[in-house]
């Protein structure tokens, strides 16, 4: 090393005592090697330059990570020491220190993946190394399409340029073809791989189709570029709901409405009971009462238009409804659970708000000057706020202040609940009042209820917003979330109407809500309550959503400015999903109750022959009567408390499991870091000792 200069920081005296102390000191210094880089490089007189690390032939032979780490120590020392001397005498590509650090075990692993973005003389070395590294894995190197597929997946995630990846892929293919020692894999393994490939291929195929179909893509991109990902989260949720409603509509239409329409045609056309009035579109009364729009328009016959094929309409109605509800429920609960896990459970534990802000705050999707300037400004403000928090000493709030805060919050919660209760009572009396009026303006009076409901909701939304401002929640995001939840509670109170009421609400809500912000969850709740009684409702809701999207978008672009604060959208998305899930759960419980406990009307509808709706299954398919043993067991198991307890248990188990999963990941990371730390320490100490011995022998 540094033969030209006589100075060498590793010049030790031959006394053991001094050696030990200096070794210790050098060990501690080695930890700060990064910072001392400039000093030592001047000592060793090396040019700094960027480029790949060169590795000698011997290093390339010892290639796999495992070998390296468990290698015979003396052997590594020799290679490294030679290299070290070499770098010392010629101007290398990097500084001496950097190269030393790159040889430490913890860095060596990453070296192989990181270092070769650059093309140049070391380009081929790196390709060789990566190829050899992958070849270690027998699974990827067999000569069959399964391995080929796995290889492609592996190469895709390498962080290299496309050129390098191409060469690696070609090399791997040739060596895979030349392999003669591939042992045959067992049937089970083959089955597993085939399944994985099938799933990935299917996923890719679907993705291809979906990118073709991705509706409103241009608009979404526009919104995201101008307003950031927070606002676009709302529109994404809207689009997701829209697509799920389309599927529901197709199912309902195909299995319920279409057969009924065909039946009507078969019987010789539809015979309306009254004349059609324009107002009927809004009230759903009159002409529309006996159409396929509502439950009453469906017959309970078994259709046989095509000879020898029968279609039992009531069965179709019931089963389609049940399956639609269940499928939606399952999908909703799975997405909610996944989103909740990602946002709240995995990121709990040690929080890293500052690092998070620095690295994840800039939204790379911003494409607009003004928005970028706003983003800079808002980030600056947020950092300023954070710094202020850090700088001022933590004042413990006095007891009085804490008490006042808590009292304020509790009182506002009570205020909200009280208002909701009051409104409920008010609505109930209004309903009763209108029942007693019988006059010509009957059709208009039906509209009073939905219009008043929507107006009150508007007013209440503003009131809730004001209340939450008064409460003084620090985090503005919390404020918005609480307001959202209160609005949600507001809507829950109005789940009292069925069929015609729902239809009316849907229509009027649309008209009024052009003016105000819309609630997608309210829409969904209405849809699923009404679905049982009005199979065409999804179609109406779909049309409504399309119009909603375009109108909202127009309003947004024309009248709104981009938000001053950058919005973290994932938490809001989770909240939307949780609210939808809760509303869906409520609807399911309500409808389940209606299906099993409420007597069916005898004069119309597809279930006229039965007492309760669910009997269509039990009596027709299973031929179970009330006294059957099986039925008695089922009834006792599905007692509400029991089911509720099971559900609660499932939720708790899921929560705990996700928490433990996140912790396991953290433990793994820390274990690996500890291991690498120990290896680094061994490596550096060994070399220091070696160099000390060498300089000793020089000195003598």
């Amino acid at each position: 090393c540094a033969s030209e200069k006589n100075k060498c920081p590793f010049a030790f005296s031959s006394e053991n005592f001094v050696i030990k102390i200096t070794i210790k000191r050098c060990f501690y210094q080695s930890r700060k090697m990064n910072r001392r880089r400039t000093n030592l490089s001047s000592v060793f007189n090396i040019d700094t330059d960027t480029g790949g690390a060169s590795m000698s032939l011997s290093e390339r032979e010892i290639h796999s990570q495992d070998n390296l780490l468990h290698m015979d120590f003396s052997e590594r020392n020799t290679c490294f020491a030679d290299e070290f001397k070499l770098w010392g005498t010629q101007s290398g590509n990097r500084t001496l220190i950097q190269k030393t650090i790159n040889f430490m075990p913890s860095r060596f692993k990453r070296q192989l993946s990181l270092d070769s973005r650059i093309s140049g003389p070391n380009h081929d070395n790196d390709i060789e190394e990566i190829t050899q590294q992958i070849e270690q894995n027998n699974q990827l190197m067999a000569d069959n399409p399964l391995s080929r597929h796995l290889r492609i997946e592996r190469i895709k995630s390498l962080p290299q340029t496309i050129n390098i990846k191409r060469e690696i892929s070609a090399k791997l293919s040739t060596s895979a073809r030349n392999r003669t020692d591939s042992k045959s894999i067992s049937y089970w393994q083959r089955f597993k791989y085939a399944y994985r490939i099938l799933r990935t291929r299917l996923g890719a195929f679907l993705a291809n189709i979906l990118t073709n179909l991705e509706i409103w893509y241009g608009s979404m991109r526009n919104i995201e570029g101008h307003f950031g990902s927070g606002v676009s989260a709302y529109f994404k949720f809207l689009r997701w709901l829209f697509i799920s409603y389309c599927i529901v509509a197709v199912l309902c239409f195909g299995f319920i409405v279409l057969p009924q329409l065909l039946l009507n045609k078969h019987h010789g056309g539809f015979k309306p009971t009254t004349m059609f009035k324009f107002l009927d579109i809004f009230t759903g009364e009159g002409y529309l009462t006996t159409t396929v729009l509502f439950y009453g328009g469906y017959s309970n016959e078994t259709i046989s238009i095509i000879p020898k094929n029968t279609y039992n309409l009531p069965m179709g109605y019931f089963l389609t409804m049940i399956s639609v509800y269940l499928i939606t429920f399952v999908i909703m609960s799975v997405s909610m659970a996944r989103s909740y896990r990602r946002t709240f459970i995995e990121s709990s534990g040690i929080t890293s708000t500052y690092a998070d802000k620095i690295f994840c705050a800039w939204d790379f999707g911003i494409s607009n000057e003004k928005m970028a300037r706003l983003a800079h400004k808002s980030l600056f403000n947020e950092l300023r706020e954070m710094l202020n928090e850090l700088e001022k000493p933590k004042l413990d709030k006095t007891f009085i202040q804490k008490f006042w805060n808590i009292a304020l919050k509790i009182s506002s919660h009570f205020l909200v609940l009280f208002m909701l209760a009051g409104l409920g009572v008010g609505m109930w009396t209004m309903l009763k009042y209108f029942e007693e009026i019988e006059d010509v303006t009957r059709s208009f009076s039906y509209l009073y209820l939905p219009i008043s409901i929507n107006c009150i909701m508007l007013v209440m939304q503003m009131v809730f917003g004001y209340i939450s401002k008064m409460e003084g929640y620090k985090n503005p995001r919390t404020r918005v979330h609480i307001t959202l939840m209160r609005n949600f509670l507001l809507e829950v109170c109005w789940e009292t109407s069925i069929g015609q009421e729902i239809y009316r609400l849907v229509i009027v809500d649309f008209v009024i809500s052009i003016v105000a912000s819309l609630s997608l969850v309210f829409n969904q709740t209405l849809l699923f309550i009404g679905l049982l009684y009005s199979p065409i409702l999804p179609v109406i809701v779909i049309i409504k959503m399309i119009l909603m999207f375009y109108i909202l978008k127009a309003i947004l672009i024309k009248y709104c400015k981009p938000p001053a604060k950058l919005w973290k959208s994932t938490q809001t998305h989770t909240l939307y999903l949780v609210m939808s899930f809760l509303s869906l759960l409520g609807v399911l419980v309500a409808n389940g109750y209606i299906m099993t406990q409420v007597k069916v009307s005898k004069s119309c509808g597809p279930f006229r022959n039965f007492d309760f709706m669910y009997e269509i299954i039990t009596l027709n398919i299973a031929k179970l009567t009330k006294d059957h043993l099986f039925w008695r067991i089922v009834v006792s198991i599905t007692r509400p408390a029991f089911v509720g307890g099971i559900l609660l248990g499932i939720v708790i188990v899921y929560y705990l499991r996700s928490k433990s999963r996140a912790r396991i990941g953290m433990v793994k990371l820390l274990k690996e870091m500890l291991y690498m730390e120990a290896r680094d320490k061994e490596f550096l100490l060994g070399h220091i000792m070696k160099l000390a011995q060498q300089s000793d022998s020089h000195a003598e």
Partner: protein, 185 residues
């Protein structure tokens, strides 16, 4: 559209599909965007190399404070000039289909200004300065305090800089990273 399709053969598209996270349609769309940056040059040679200045005309990169770093990281000649393959690689990593680990890998390189495989104090300082924009400044003490807090939070082995493992850990915990680190085609 017919003209663009004829510029690439089926095997080339399949090749690109195997090496990136894009479907064939998205690759063609990416080429269309690339061509829009310099129509005549790309018309002659579909894999033409465009200067960094031209690449930074792409809307999302132009307003991005790390635009030049992105170009340097993805450029195969590491001076910022990108061929179409580099551009495709860039868009593929920023797309929705790329897994979080790949994104974290490249984010680390983008933020590593001095290229020493660690996010040291100088790297963090430059990141902060770029994030807050030109008009706004924080005092030196403030920046020091901020950097110290970040290192306290994230530097698990206490060596004064963030290694890739620590960076990846921060990214794992952040639920917003995948949403922010994304450029739609």
């Amino acid at each position: 559209m017919g003209q663009t399709k004829s510029q690439f053969t089926e095997e080339e598209l399949q090749d690109y599909e195997d090496l990136t996270f894009f479907t064939k349609k998205e690759i063609l769309c990416a080429h269309k965007k690339f061509k829009a940056l310099a129509p005549e040059k790309v018309g002659h040679n579909k894999n033409a190399k465009l200067s960094m200045h031209k690449i930074l005309q792409y809307p999302e990169l132009r307003v991005n404070p790390f635009g030049d770093r992105i170009c340097k990281v993805f450029s195969s000649s590491s001076d910022g000039d990108c061929t179409f393959e580099d551009f495709l690689d860039m868009m593929s990593v920023f797309s929705d289909a790329a897994p979080k680990t790949v994104k974290a890998e490249h984010a680390f390189r983008i933020f590593d200004f001095d290229g020493d495989d660690m996010l040291g104090v100088s790297d963090l300082r430059q990141v902060i300065e770029r994030l807050i924009g030109e008009g706004n400044t924080l005092t030196d003490n403030d920046v020091k305090l901020l950097i110290q807090t970040i290192l306290d939070e994230a530097d698990l082995d206490d060596d004064g800089a963030l290694s890739f493992a620590e960076f990846e850990h921060i990214i794992d915990k952040s639920s917003d990273f995948s949403n922010s680190f994304r450029i739609r085609l």
